[in-house]
Symmetry: C2
Subunit: 129 residues, 2 copies
Amino acid sequence: MSILIDETALSDAAAIFKVLSDPNRLRIFNILMDGDTCNCEMTDMLDIPANLLSHHLRVLRQAGLVSSRRDAVDGRWIYYSVNKAAIAHWHTWLKTFFDPERVKERNNLCGPEGGQTRMTTSIFITQEQ
Amino acid sequence: MSILIDETALSDAAAIFKVLSDPNRLRIFNILMDGDTCNCEMTDMLDIPANLLSHHLRVLRQAGLVSSRRDAVDGRWIYYSVNKAAIAHWHTWLKTFFDPERVKERNNLCGPEGGQTRMTTSIFITQEQ
DNA sequence: GTAATACTTCAATAGATGTTGAATAGTATG
DNA sequence: CATACTATTCAACATCTATTGAAGTATTAC
């Protein structure tokens, strides 16, 4: 198993998956992947009320996927953008995690088919032949 | 935007993220990525009760990520494995979706900074100078 | 100052879901 | 047949969360 895939990484990945598991939130994130966008523009693109949009953006921000800044001309406007470092990290991680090359045929199955059996005490032994 | 990333694909991806957003379920999936495994073996590896394991495996199966078969020698045993076609599909999709190259600087921001303003009727106009 | 605009936070609710324990199904053995 | 073993399904619960509407914050315009 790759060094990238340990228990901690799995836990972190589960958290990211959870953040992106909401359809609206994933649509928001997808828009941000194509460049900076202000809240108002997304309201129009997504047909989502502003307060709900804010909620989802906060979740994305707290997950480290997104950051925000105020407009330099008119401070009432706020731009959101993806965190490039985080994107690069998850791009690499997901490429490794979902690599089809990881899926190998096992030479030793855990059950009778593989010559293994199990006692009720959860101790694996080699089946006698 | 890539042809791979349309509303339908986003909806499907959100569903997959949801399936993998549970820590235990992601650990199960990760084990299966390394090869076929029976229910009993995972019970030992994960310290999860058998019925809960079955529940998570069903969710993974219904999502098309995992399939199962019975042991040829002893039909009481069941092996689980990842669906290679699904893995390949999501491997490709995620590589595209999280591609850092997607994140570009926008030449036209939607707010005042980018020379844009907005009327209360949600109609975008070019700001006069 | 007041008013308007862009956005966020708060409070409440309804629906979804992970977990647990008990009951059930399917298969093998004697 | 009965018994044991592997795994699934059922029922109940507790927790979490997306959504909604109202109130609040920050900034700009007049």
